[in-house]
Amino acid sequence: MSIKSKFFFIDCSEAAACCNKAQYEEANNFEKARLMLHLLFCKTCRKFSTKNSKLTGLLKKSKIETCPEDTKHQWREQIKKEFAEERT
């Protein structure tokens, strides 16, 4: 493949990376265009891309929250302290 065509045609691993970035809205227009081009002729990646978007949808729908780090820190300290006391 010439350098020029490599510029536009990416392999599957690169396409996957672009696809993941796109899920977080971090792919730039050029990356998106290359991804689209790749998806045109790659069935496997099309399948991956659909699945990936679906996963993003599920993650959004589930509305999971993480605990704030300072709360976790408090708990950690608390457990450590109690655990030490239990042992003695």
Partner: protein, 183 residues
Amino acid sequence: MSAHTLDPNKWVDRYSDYLFNYTIVRVNNREVANDLISETFLAALKSAKYFKGEASERTWLISILKRKIIDHYRRINSRKGKAEVKISYTDDYNEGEWLEEQVADQFDKTAEDEMENNELGLAILECLDSINEKHAEIFKRKTIDGADTEAICNEFNITPSNLWVIIHRARTALAACLEKNWF
């Protein structure tokens, strides 16, 4: 299957997000949820010697948490004397057509969906258990907290391409796990 063991120092890292998401839909108040989880950890430490290793750590912690949530509702009910159920319909403030007033709220329609969504959230967190702890942490920071790529890279001391590889693996593993356990 080998017997499960307890590792209290890992509890917060491994289960706090799960316990939090489990609790928040049941008590609907962050502070109460945090208190209940804190109580759960302490109670778990106290009764660690009774842990037989038949259930997984998580199941065991959840069973304690369930008791704590029930206790919480008992407490607030007795405090406000809400335990007695008042059936009489008419009072000074409520007058009017019974039917119209008792029609369910619009948002009630989605109550079931909400429940399913919470279960989905718990399933996702459970699936994240099966991947490398550090990778799961990074995935959560990126996907759930929506942190900047740069911030995460600094925090974990990795390069952006490392990050995307980790995210890719986590997503693939998660998709496979959800396909098996959710659909």
